[in-house]
Symmetry: C2
Subunit: 406 residues, 2 copies
């Protein structure tokens, strides 16, 4: 199941970024499960990664390599997360990097490895290494569709974004692909995102922009509250456009680029939620009137994670009592329940500590019957405002996750 | 569904505590949905309540009445929570108290009201008031079974505890009944508990004992992470035993009484979990080696609330990767993943940052196939130790909560 329309777009090429997907037979024979990115010399790369203390081996390696050398290749496998694999996992991730580096006369630090799939199984590194020559030969600027499909695990559809802006007669392209269906939460769960542009951006500016964009997008989505060991989001600037390098987070060109890059992140993040495991509803939780950002996020996540609310959403049941209960236990200090107002889309359902006088069950039912729902909460105590995106909790979610390893 | 054997025990009478259940037709005609406790003069009463900011009207009234006057009656209705009902809800709860007070020549502050059921619907106060005379007439020391059944909502079985100790030829009885199936979490979700003894205990000692016992029991259970608006736990000491009053938390008699009262709380709390909505597994999450209590609880709740772990439990799948992922994102600062050890019952599954060398899938499968499972986590960084109890997440949970209002 998946909610709404997120058709895979026509992906413009990004000069300096070639990619492909090949089949290593990691989990299922014939499935294209190894994706390779080749970046032109001079490309700048930024990354943000999971905060999970049990971060996967490739995450550990990525962080080290990003700090050490100019990145020229990204290699991603689906079907195995190489997580909780101890010292052997690190060696396996390094071996994958080394195989590419040797064939191209680079240092292994110039390759970033990524893995997604089952946790705790040894990475079948020989299978991956065996298909690297084929992948190196096949990379092409037209490879975005194949790459988007190659990184999928329980995703039911490939996720992509592509947009162009023109600046001084130069076309700047921003492309993105992502995967991730279950286990999505703040700080990004088994979620991989790759956004690339041909713009020329200094690395520190690129890194700060990625942090801002990830915070507004992948760090604001949640399906089941679990944060994975492998989440990674990479932003690439190949620099192939004939314009001066953007060296500070200022100016009209930076602003235009920033807007599109944030748009790409939010679109991909919402695509992930809409394809959440077993999702039948796409739900925005919009919390305003908070004393600070954390109050809004605490309330937002309490609502977005409540299994009682999520099952009510699945049942299209306007059970607003469960929403106020979640607001009440979110831990906002000295919350005045009488000042809280809750809307379902534009229907006022709660005010003055109880059901709004104007509210009728029919109004609530009409909203809940839709596939896209906004739960709007005004805490009535400040100016902070945050939005999260989540899904309902269905039989299908239980089935997918009870069956995942079988 | 319900896990394990928690047969309703033979309930000894507690001198000074009479109770009954009568039918007011609140939700279903004929169901006995109003329970009345009558306490002998001189009874001491202690209470702990939900921390939810949207606490229900009866909770607000209970707290006020407990502080104001000697309590003589408790009145509980199931089928309607009288929560998020604003000012009218308070008036309705008070009207219920007033009806009992008038018939018995007491102040309304001498009555404690409780409600459990659907949130946000007006309390059908006239229906309740109408059956109070019948309830007053019917109360009996033999009424425990009826009362335990009368407070149930989605519970599939009544929950009771009864035990006696002898002190200086005097028999001291500790009885308890409780309800609560879904929406159970720390700080007690839609959970009501009533524990009574004929011992003679000063109110401050009783209150401190209740806090300790609730913290070790009802505050350590979780089914779906939601904390309700109505949770209440009451401890009554009727003082009908012919012994001096216990005035401090010291001495052999206090210790013996304390042990039984804590045992009662833990037994009732575990009974609630074992009857969790749709539960097919009873799961203890035992976290040791924490730097402090909060580290243990953060890790315990991350594991106990993870839908991915709960669906794996439902599938009897020893998917230990999901367990380490949850430990990793629990937010323990500077957690050294290499020092964490995880057992399923007595089977070591994780050490040195990955799967234990000795572990086999068959061992894990054997544990997970059982109905009662302990997930033992040693954080390897201190001496703190906490245990939580929870359940799996099944299709049945989704069905119950998607259907609850229909």
């Amino acid at each position: 199941m998946a909610v709404g329309e997120y058709p895979f777009p026509e992906m413009h090429p990004v000069a300096g970024v070639k990619l492909t997907a090949v089949s290593a037979g990691i989990k299922k024979p014939g499935r294209r499960d190894v994706v390779l990115f080749e970046l032109a010399e001079g490309s700048q790369v930024a990354g943000v990664f999971t905060l999970n203390a049990f971060c996967a081996a490739p995450v550990t390696v990525c962080k080290k390599h990003l700090a050490a050398a100019p990145i020229r290749y990204l290699v991603i496998n689906s079907g195995n997360a190489n997580a909780c694999t101890g010292e052997q996992g690190i060696n396996d991730a390094l071996a994958t990097c080394e195989s590419i580096a040797q064939l191209r006369g680079l240092k292994k630090e110039q390759v970033l490895p990524f893995s997604t799939g089952v946790i705790g199984e040894p990475l079948p590194v020989q299978k991956i290494v065996a298909v690297i020559p084929e992948a190196l030969e096949k990379v092409t600027e037209q490879g975005w569709d194949d790459a988007a499909a190659g990184i999928m695990t329980t995703d039911t559809r490939a996720k992509g974004f592509s947009k162009q802006i023109v600046w001084q007669s130069q076309t700047i392209t921003v492309n993105g692909i992502a995967k991730g269906a279950g286990m999505i939460k703040p700080n990004m769960a088994t979620m991989l995102g790759y956004i690339a542009t041909n713009a020329k951006v200094a690395q520190p500016v690129l890194q700060a922009l990625l942090r801002e964009a990830a915070d507004k997008s992948f760090n604001r989505i949640t399906i089941d509250g679990d944060t994975s060991t492998n989440d990674s989001c990479i932003l690439i600037a190949s620099g192939q456009v004939d314009l001066p390098e953007i060296q500070t987070a200022e100016g009209e060109l930076y602003q235009q680029l920033r807007d599109v890059i944030i748009e790409a992140h939010i679109f991909l993040a919402k695509s992930i939620v809409a394809d959440g495991e077993g999702a039948t509803k796409f739900v925005a939780v919009d919390v305003s009137g908070g004393g600070d950002r954390n109050e809004c996020l605490d309330v937002g996540y309490a609502v977005a994670h409540s299994p009682l609310i999520k099952t009510a959403l699945f049942a299209s049941d306007p059970n607003w009592g469960r929403i106020v209960a979640a607001i009440g236990y979110a831990g906002v200090k000295d919350l005045d329940a009488a000042k809280v107002r809750v809307h379902l889309n534009d229907v006022l359902i709660v005010e003055n500590g109880g059901r709004a006088a104007s509210y009728t069950e029919e109004q609530g039912q009409a909203v809940m019957s839709g596939a896209e729902i906004t739960i709007r909460i005004d805490l009535g105590r400040g100016d902070s405002h945050e939005t999260l995106w989540t899904t309902d909790l269905s039989y299908e979610y239980v089935r997918i996750n009870a069956d995942y390893r079988s």
